[in-house]
Amino acid sequence: MNPPAVPETGNLPASLRDPSTLFFQYDSVRRSIIAAYWVAILLATPLWWYTTSIERLPLPISQASQEISRPLQLPVNVCLQESKPIFAPLLQVSLDRFTSSRILEGVQIHITGSAKCETTSSGNSYIVKPGQTKLISGRALEFPMRDARSVEDLTSTLVNLIVPHLAHNDKSNRAVQFASRYRLAFSLLNEDASSGSGVMGWNVEHALTRYITPILDRVSHLHNFTIESQVQFHAPLAFDVQRLGNGEHSLSYEDLTVFVNSAEWTLSSSFSNEPVIHLVAFVPSSDHSPLRILEADGTISNSNAFILPQWGGIVLYNPSEGETSKQLSSRGFQDVFGSFANQLLSLLGVPNLPAEIQRDPRDRNTISDWQLDALLRRRTLEAVAGTKETLGSFIKLVDQIDNMPIGPSVRDDVQVALSSLNKVYDLASTSLFQTFTSSASAFDSSSRAFFNPGMLALLYFPAEHKYAVYTPLFATSMIPLAIAALREFKIWKQQRKQTNNG
């Protein structure tokens, strides 16, 4: 056995080769391998960024905050017909007092005095004529103007007619939220038809044509309606009815709040998202008949109907002793549908006329022009306020939550809402109806943007979550890459120094 040949410094035995002469040990090859990795990473980063980032389209935030802070004034022109301008300036002063006390927020009433007022059909202009009684016909008001004191009277009458909801400071919120389409669900509920005192059917179509359709036709510019009706023969109450001394039965105010037994009554199916106005006729069982409503002081109320705010109306119908027919009698129709009509009016937000005002007998509409204009004004103001509030909250929300995606549909909805809102301000002085349509569309678009389900898409998968899953892979792989690059860079710098020195 020969000892192994010891190579001299720099010389290798023939069987071995200098590693630096191997092609994959060339500096350039090694460096290009490292560089290739880094190029791949750098090229992939934008792709990764693009595929994992949330789509957040820019929103017109400055325009929105500008529109939100802009106040809306619906101008109303009242032409006072008088031979000499005596009362008109007084009336204007008297009305301005209301404006300054902020009762008439959002509405501005201009008074002009003229010998001959032009009749108009626009919802912005009204005529006040001298007359014997307080009487309205069309958009004109006849008012007995006698002296300066009647100016005060006229002022309050005008405020009551033009903006009744502001004048009465109506906080009860009886009217349902605005929607372009409502479902009217008429239900005839028998508490227990098998007990012998039930109403087995009703000719609802006839009653609807007579009592309800005139109202619906009148407000058809504001809302569309889907009508449905049903009869139930067993609709038990969820509480016990009190028995009074005289054999009658009663419901207290507390009972009325829990009257609707939603567990047992299927009043309307929930397959559509349209808001429902329920109008319910309730026939108590023979054990609970007659059923009355008690006033707060314990006396029996004259009325047998009540409204559940924003939900609907209920009429208690006690069939009289002599009624043998199993169908709803004509008296029943009058009772039930007369009340339904009134309940529907107040649920839709149609204001009542002030008590002292008479209607022109030639005017056969159920809702006068004054009431309809007041309703439009109220809905416009509500819709604009609602839009502003929704947009404000929306922008705040988007600002606070960075992970919330904003897709093109949301952005478009916001833009439509803003442009509709802008149109409301522009149209306010020309046409009340068009102002209302724009405000409704602004409200619709802003709510649609706010409730867009796409905004929740990535909310539950925050970026932290993703990093937690992928860090074990990426961090551990990046370390050798980074170290190799650093080392190579050092060697390259050293080599350069040597060549410079050498």
Partner: protein, 529 residues
């Protein structure tokens, strides 16, 4: 007091004969059929039918427009709205629990007895909304109405086997109609489905025959199921039939010797009062052909060896009871083995591994003549057929001509189910066995159900005899369970982190090897010694 119900009847008959209302007239009929079975059990079938006279399904071409107002007196509004909204011409929904034993119980009065949920509907084509879009909406709406997971009857389970599910009523001729069918065998029926079901009845569960629908007893029955059927009869109108079937066992307790039953023992309720709006309200009891028995109270009439009770006329409260003088003879009942139906069905899935299985369907013909049946499998894509391995054997011998008229729509993974349909001819008094290899899918992580280890219920196969010319009943095989490869769901993060560590370790080693610089290290030979 006795006169009052008569007066009622007279009034209702009067109301029915003179249409005094402007709208469509509506009729409500309720019926309960009780049949003592030869194994001592009692089959009960409730049927509540409401006819909307003159009504017709909505024309699909008008679906985009506003619908006319809907005014109903007896017809269920909640269901009526759904039918109008999606333009449904015919609809059948059944929710069942248990296996229907055809051999011992015979043909059910309502044929839809497949385990779990089954929904099929005929929808008119044309108009703005496509059939599939409306089918999807219909599923969701019914799911909401009946509080069940019908929305899971998605396109993964929807097929269109129009030969087996022919319309039971008529279809409007104005448009072409399409069938959509889906079944979900893992869906259970329970009291939350019965509550909305009862609300669709005019008298709810508070008067008339529906009083007997007591969930505590119904869902304790050996077999129970509810059904909703909407049909259109061309000359009559739209009919909604709500049904409930149950197989009760009066002999369940070991201490009970007699097969006696009563309303009180079966339903723990009596009929206290009649439904005031029912046009007819009948209870039919099938009377046994042999042996002694007594039935109380006295029936109103006897029709085709069935005792008929009119709930309006009989004394209330009504607690119908049947009793036998002698103890029930279990031995005699089990020795009469002859099945009640002319066909017996069996279907099994043998699973040798996590990837493959072997499907076997056995059909026994008890008749003396050979019979042709239509065999339908609507299998979700998780089980796929190897059709070339299909072998038909009769009593152990391969019979090539037993299977004919095969129609096969293969599954598409992650979307479409298989529809396999064939005509099988079974020789007299023999058993036909069909065998086929199947492959089982490997599911994505998110496709597993919450209780993944339980396996997947496969929908029942449906057999329809072809020789009976008139309205042959569909037979459902019991459903089977398939076990798919399931991952360990308990520690996904541990798995992710472990996998990442292994990958980065391998990556680091290879990368190091590629970029390592090899140098020659001089070693002094003297030193190394």
């Amino acid at each position: 007091m006795v006169l009052l119900p008569r007066l009622y009847l007279a009034l209702i008959v009067l109301g029915a004969s003179i249409p005094c209302r402007a709208g469509l007239s509506e009729y409500f009929n309720e019926k309960l059929t009780l049949t003592p079975l030869r194994d001592g059990k009692v089959a009960s079938t409730f049927s509540f039918s409401t006819l909307l006279k003159g009504g017709s399904p909505r024309d699909p071409s008008q679906l985009g427009e506003d619908d006319e107002s809907q005014h109903y007196t007896l017809f269920p509004l909640g269901l009526g709205q759904i039918l109008r909204e999606y333009g449904v011409a015919e609809l059948h929904l059944s929710l069942n629990a248990g296996k229907w034993n055809y051999d011992r119980w015979g043909y059910p009065l309502e044929p839809g007895v497949g385990t779990g949920a089954e929904l099929w509907a005929w929808l008119g084509d044309g108009g703005v909304r496509s059939v599939d879009d409306r089918w999807k909406g219909l599923r969701s709406a019914l799911a909401g109405l009946f509080c069940s997971s019908l929305s899971r009857l998605d396109e993964h389970r929807t097929t269109s086997p129009a030969e087996t599910f022919k319309p039971e009523g008529s279809l409007p001729e104005t448009s072409h109609h399409q069938l959509r069918h889906a079944s979900l065998p893992s869906e259970n029926v329970c009291t939350e489905n019965l509550t909305p079901f009862l609300k669709l009845l005019p008298c709810k569960g508070l008067s008339g025959i529906a009083t007997l629908l007591n969930p505590h007893k119904l869902f304790d029955a050996n077999w129970h199921g509810l059904g909703v059927h909407v049909l259109w009869h061309k000359d009559e109108g739209v009919e909604v039939r709500l049904t409930f079937q149950g197989i009760f066992d009066p002999l369940r307790s070991a201490y009970v010797r007699k097969q006696d039953w009563s309303f009180e023992s079966l339903f723990a309720r009596k009929i206290e009062k009649a439904c005031p709006v029912a046009n007819s309200s009948e209870i039919l009891v099938t009377l046994p052909q042999t042996g002694e028995y007594s039935i109380s109270p006295e029936p109103t009439s006897i029709r085709n060896s069935m005792a008929v009770y009119d709930t309006k006329l009989v004394q209330k409260p009504l607690n119908l009871a049947m009793s036998w003088p002698h103890d029930f003879d279990h031995l005699a009942a089990s020795s009469t083995r002859e099945p009640l139906t002319s066909l017996s069905l069996q279907r099994t899935l043998r699973e040798s591994s996590q990837l493959d299985g072997h499907l076997t369907v056995s059909l026994t013909n008890h008749k003396d003549t050979s019979t042709d049946v239509l065999y339908l499998e609507t299998m979700p894509w998780i089980v796929q057929f190897y059709l070339h391995t299909l072998v038909a054997t009769v009593e152990g011998r391969v019979k090539v001509d037993a299977v004919s008229n095969i129609s096969y729509i293969p599954a598409i993974p992650h979307s479409r189910p298989t529809t396999f349909q064939a005509v099988l001819s079974i020789p007299p008094n023999s058993t036909l066995q069909l065998t086929m290899d199947v492959s089982k899918a490997f599911l994505r992580y998110t496709e597993h159900p919450p209780d993944a280890q339980r396996g997947w219920d496969l929908p029942p196969a449906i057999i329809m005899p072809l020789d009976d010319k008139l309205n042959s009943p569909r037979l459902y095989t019991p459903n089977i369970l398939v076990d798919l490869a399931t991952p360990d769901f308990s520690m996904p993060y541990n798995v992710i982190i472990f996998t990442c560590t292994v990958i980065s370790f391998i990556f680091g080693s290879i990368f190091n090897l590629m970029t390592r610089k090899f140098v020659i290290v001089q070693m002094d030979p003297k030193e190394s010694k």
